[in-house]
């Protein structure tokens, strides 16, 4: 292998060095008894707990439940945000009618609604979907609105003078022009989606990752709590990767996304 190649692989591995070192230190500290397993179990124990949970299928069941909730909430809130953003972005009248109200609601943090949501829906599925949907709605709505409004008017004028109007103008010029901004909203709300779901599940649920960790806490199973936390991190990363994949695909014309 050439010198260049070795150098490149070194570059690739470098960012993984600190976490790896940390895990090794942590393992040593736990084995030496410097860390109580109630506070922080050894990495190896966490891995074993994860293995046991996944072998019994329990883990996958919780992951599936949580993922379904996250995606359903995202689909509801995201599409509502997209449609409303498109509507108020396109029509001044609808903007005047709706935007002030939406801006007012936007200032309420979704998690502040938890007591109300529990009163409305109990600890039902609907409660979690509602919270995720509300949280996801605003980033998508705001960025869609902004995206539509900031499409280059010169391009719209050009397209109109070349005979485009109505749906064709929308499809060929306005929507693609707003895509970059819409995807910023999607990426942001995908992150928010997990945060809200975690809180919602730890407060009231009878299944899902949040429930699993809260349950484990009651039995002082710190290793399982940590498995849950790591799972959230992984799922969040996965969702972000998916959103980035969308960006790379839909914005492949954009010089900023060409490799």
């Amino acid at each position: 292998m050439s010198k260049e190649g070795t150098h490149q692989i070194g570059q690739r591995l470098l960012p993984w060095l600190p976490p790896l070192g940390l895990i090794i230190l942590w393992q040593i500290a736990a084995q030496a008894g410097w860390l109580s397993s109630r506070v922080l179990p050894a990495p190896w124990d966490i891995a074993r707990a994860a293995w046991k949970l996944s072998a019994s299928g329990e883990l996958w069941q919780h992951v599936a439940v949580s993922t379904r909730r996250a995606l359903a909430g995202f689909a509801i809130g995201g599409s509502a945000g997209l449609l409303l953003g498109l509507a108020t972005g396109t029509s001044r009248r609808l903007e005047i009618l709706l935007d002030t109200s939406l801006q007012m609601v936007r200032n309420i943090p979704p998690l502040a609604l938890i007591p109300l949501v529990i009163l409305w829906f109990g600890i039902d599925e609907a409660a979690k979907l509602f919270l995720v949907a509300i949280g996801v709605f605003f980033p998508v709505y705001l960025n869609t609105f902004h995206g539509i409004r900031s499409v280059d008017p010169a391009l719209i004028e050009m397209a109109k003078s070349y005979g485009l109007s109505g749906w064709r103008l929308y499809r060929d010029v306005i929507l693609p022009g707003a895509t970059a901004s819409i995807l910023v909203g999607v990426r942001f709300s995908v992150g928010l989606m997990w945060v809200i779901l975690i809180v919602a599940e730890t407060i009231s649920a009878s299944s899902g990752i949040g429930y699993m960790t809260m349950n484990a806490r009651e039995f002082l199973q710190t290793d399982i709590v940590l498995v849950g936390i790591i799972l959230y991190a992984l799922l969040g990363k996965l969702a972000d990767l998916a959103a980035r994949g969308l960006e790379r695909f839909w914005l492949r014309w954009h010089p900023g996304y060409q490799n």
Partner: protein, 270 residues
């Protein structure tokens, strides 16, 4: 102008080929500022007219009025003897190429084209010499290539009136001359009427049958260019004309008091 004269225009430019254009006393204001004052201009089918003038004198506004992108406050605009331009017969090429960055080159050229004429887009792209770049994103093209794509996009609609707003402003000298030759060739083969806004007096003389000077919103000179084509820039006649036009632009015959010139071709309307 009477009805008969209009009909003669319409007949003279039947269906194919260039459109006749006439502007009568066009006025245009932005707020208080009068940007176009009493513009009279008659352009024959297939004629190539260049519009020159200082920055801010109203050239783009005039072009946008003709393209129907801007309203006007007084006067009338006839297209082949009928009021109001038929937008499918007029195409404008902007100074910035205004390609859609999310469409590949060929799709940009085919913008607004009915599906059954999609192949025409490739033909025209070949004419401007960019067929092999048809699947590139516009961001990957050079400035001159983008302008050629924009030119192809305008031409594919077989316009009878092509409006060019400083299309070559941002190009280097060599590419400019290349593009000028291209535009002249396409104009000669397709026979459309062309209206070119430019800052470059040499470019105007090289391409146009007539050079129109706009000063402060009004037409103050309408010079016929009778040199044989293709025009060699080095020629003595060419140089003399260029010198005369430049002198005219740099030293307007107005008095220091600032009295505006009367339009020289006001008789043209009759």
């Amino acid at each position: 102008m009477d009805i008969n004269a209009r009909e003669t225009h319409a007949v003279a430019s039947s269906a194919e080929g260039g459109a006749a254009l006439s502007l009568h006393g066009i006025h245009k204001r932005y707020g208080e500022r009068e940007v176009l004052r009493d513009i009279h201009l008659d352009i024959k089918p297939g004629e190539f007219v260049a519009i020159i003038g200082r920055s801010g004198c109203g050239k783009s506004t005039l072009l946008r009025v003709i393209a129907g992108l801007e309203s006007y406050h007084a006067g009338s605009l006839d297209f082949d003897g009928t009021p109001a331009a038929k937008s499918e017969d007029t195409r404008i090429m902007f100074q910035d190429s205004r390609l859609l960055p999310w469409k590949r080159v060929l799709a940009n050229v085919a913008l607004g084209l009915p599906a059954e004429r999609y192949l025409d887009a490739l033909d025209v792209l070949t004419q401007v010499g960019l067929a092999e770049r048809r699947l590139d994103w516009p961001a990957r093209l050079s400035g001159g290539q983008r302008q050629r794509v924009a030119l192809a996009r305008a031409l594919v609609h077989r316009p009878r009136l092509l409006l060019l707003d400083e299309p070559l402003g941002a190009l280097d000298a060599l590419t400019r001359i290349e593009m000028q030759t291209l535009i002249e060739d396409l104009w000669r083969t397709n026979g459309f009427t062309a209206l070119l806004v430019t800052h470059d007096v040499q470019e105007a003389i090289a391409l146009a049958d007539r050079v129109v000077l706009i000063e402060d919103g009004a037409i103050t000179l309408d010079q016929r260019i009778d040199l044989p084509r293709p025009r060699a820039r080095g020629g003595a006649q060419f140089a003399a004309l260029e010198e005369r036009l430049l002198q005219r632009i740099l030293h307007p015959e107005s008095t220091p008091g600032g009295i505006r010139l009367r339009p020289l071709r006001s008789t043209l309307v009759a």
